[in-house]
Symmetry: C2
Subunit: 419 residues, 2 copies
């Protein structure tokens, strides 16, 4: 698919994340007022809350869904409404649109706004579906022969995370406290995390509820869109707490998502298949078509006051399981899924060292500190460091991007007198 | 504390779960109409939604909180309002109250209503804080020498569950499908669970939000009340899926709670300390006072059309960690807790066989089937079985009870054509 041209000139630049082909959904505020729903186009945002009120635009006649500061009400309308609304937006913003004069008053420069959470996260699940990541971590902790757990090639391993900890790009993240136990210590101590890390992931947003088991094909239709996702991880807390019931406080400090939801419709042109299977999946997990996406991803680390170094370049297509497979598996027990559920893909690492999606892997558990531009090194994140994820599917002369997903790590809170 | 007498005669019976000392909070409906907030008193319910509307009762003047079918809005008012409202209810319903004539029209017989979920569950966390349960399960899976994981005596082990799967007593539970792998099989199959089980737990309801770490004392003040909780568990699904990230679909089918929230205030007279510590806890987990409760618990199993057998009798005081300790630990990473969060205590087992809180323990992994009245046996739950939890703190001549927490297991859904 070629670039679709818009009368918003900045949307036709090959460098923008937001051409007419994209039309991602977010929530913004000016001057701290209540959040409004917006659609990115070039360096502008179409204020759809105002446009709906003015009856210039509507997802479904006689329904108001943009009077709330999230996209959940719109998601509830379902796939037919999603498609109709996207068609309408495309027509309104296309080069030569007769509606330009009616729409233009509702454009706001992105430079003048602050982005908020684009959705109300119902529940948050995180998966472990990157084969290179699972192999790297498994090799570090269990040795190369036992790197992949026996179930890994059969089942998209996942665990429930904490929806209350999901924040939007730009939110500072405070280094957590936790129980830490050195391998040679007799007992744990309660102290600030020393091995704080990021995880490069994509997040799938569930846009329709389930009632009972759903097929992979149906799960694919339930996914509204995708965000970039940084699953901040306290490696030392995790090492001590995670047996036998999995990660808990190690993953509860924060998870940062990009402010823009790129819709499944916008990504449709970039579908790719999952990698070749080592063992055949059970029928309920088999995909009827390609359900991963070719999305180039990268991560920057910038020390406080220093320059950013790109420390990872990889691709979402590296995942072993798609979000549709994960969602189908999630419903296999009858677990009810709801509008606004967020599914983290799992850490996305490629097969080579510069493609690894976490510092744990990049520094090999701290044994091989990573050299950054400017002569400093990192094994794990230090206070003041900013981690920025970026991602885009690349078309011919344009990109369908997510904007930045960024967070700065602040020092741990002072020790309370009761701790 | 002695029985407090009410002008509602049935509330003065030694056998009721709902004397004036209790006053638990629930949501009920008649004829399928929208849920209304109610307070149990003897065999009646005070319709507080109607009483608030009629200005007979109010939690805080000029605030309406009972026009919604859950107690979350009331919880948000905070501990001072909780105490004032309870005082007002006590005065209105006490023997000799001058307000009897004003209140009596708002009483509804419990026999005429259906109970609904008493709260909107924000997020659900389940713990593993019963020492006898952890020892039993650990002995079965890892041997008696390694029964307790190394972290268990230092940390209240927990994992995030699925809020969308929490249902109220009386809701049928459908046997789940899942990936099952026999120990001697090469690969898993996708099939209905064969080892479906209950877990006897208490659930603590978080009534105030957190922003950063909280102390155990503060956590105790944040807990609004308690429910009975049955954490339905698919043992065969869990065995195959739970390494390395913990239980997921094995716990996602359903969790049943009692319809009545018994407030922390009502249970205050029954506080007891946690059992003696084997190793001293880190300061952030130490309790400034007794924060467990002496609550007698029992579980009935009734086959379809058969008589019920009480298969377990134990006590909440058996837990090693209190809900306040669990909640304080939950916030240690900075994880934001919210009004309506539900914390499962973990399975409550006593030290002897008839005190075990799950069939996994009672039948020792299926090796010692349990004999029921009527000559039948059970290793795990069969289709048509009803599991009923009951619990009460016992005062002198009265009980502060929870009502029944019950669920019937229905057959698994038919195999879909894509599975």
């Amino acid at each position: 698919m070629p670039l679709m041209r818009s009368w918003v000139e900045s949307a036709n630049s090959p460098d923008t994340d937001f051409p007419l082909n994209n039309l991602p959904y977010g929530v913004f505020t000016r001057d701290g007022a209540e959040g409004r729903c917006g659609v990115a186009i070039g360096d502008m945002i179409l204020d759809v809350t105002a446009a709906e009120e003015a009856e210039v635009i509507y997802p479904v006649r006689h329904t108001t869904v943009f009077d709330v500061p999230h996209w959940n009400a719109f998601m509830e309308l379902g796939p037919d409404a999603w498609a109709a609304f996207r068609d309408r937006l495309t027509a309104l913003l296309a080069e030569g649109s007769p509606d330009r004069a009616a729409v233009e008053p509702f454009l706001v420069p992105q430079a003048e706004v602050q982005m908020l959470m684009p959705l109300a996260v119902a529940e948050y699940t995180d998966f472990y579906a990157g084969r290179h990541h699972a192999t790297n971590v498994g090799t570090m902790f269990r040795g190369a022969e036992n790197a992949l757990p026996p179930n890994w090639l059969h089942i998209p391993i996942g665990y429930n995370g904490r929806a209350s900890s999901v924040v939007v790009s730009g939110t500072d993240v405070q280094r957590p406290w936790g129980q830490l136990k050195a391998p040679d210590a007799d007992a744990p101590v309660f102290a600030p995390c020393k091995r704080f890390d990021f995880e490069l992931e994509m997040g799938a947003i569930v846009g329709q509820p389930s009632d009972g088991m759903v097929s992979v094909a149906e799960a694919d239709r339930m996914i509204f869109g995708y965000v970039l996702l940084n699953d901040w991880s306290a490696r030392d807390i995790q090492a001590w707490e995670y047996q036998p019931l999995g990660p808990f406080q190690a993953k509860a400090t924060a998870t940062t998502i990009s402010p823009w939801i790129v819709t499944a419709a916008a990504l449709n042109a970039f579908r790719v298949d999952t990698p070749e299977r080592d063992v055949q999946l059970l029928p309920y997990l088999r995909q009827p078509g390609p359900m991963l996406y070719d999305i180039a991803l990268e991560v920057d680390l910038a020390p406080e006051g220093g320059t950013a170094t790109t420390i990872t370049r990889t691709n979402y297509a590296e995942m072993y399981y798609s979000s549709a497979q994960q969602l189908a598996h999630h419903t296999s027990s009858g677990c009810p899924m709801n509008v606004g559920d967020l599914l983290g893909s799992g850490t996305i690492s490629g097969s080579t060292k510069p493609e690894r999606g976490s510092l744990l892997e990049l520094s090999w558990g701290g044994k091989e500190p990573l050299a950054l531009d400017g002569g400093v090194t990192r094994s794990f994140i230090e206070d003041g460091d900013t981690i920025t994820l970026r991602g885009a599917a690349k078309g011919d002369g344009y990109r369908v991007g997510f904007g930045a997903c960024s967070g700065t790590v602040r020092p741990a809170q002072q020790k309370p007198d009761w701790a």
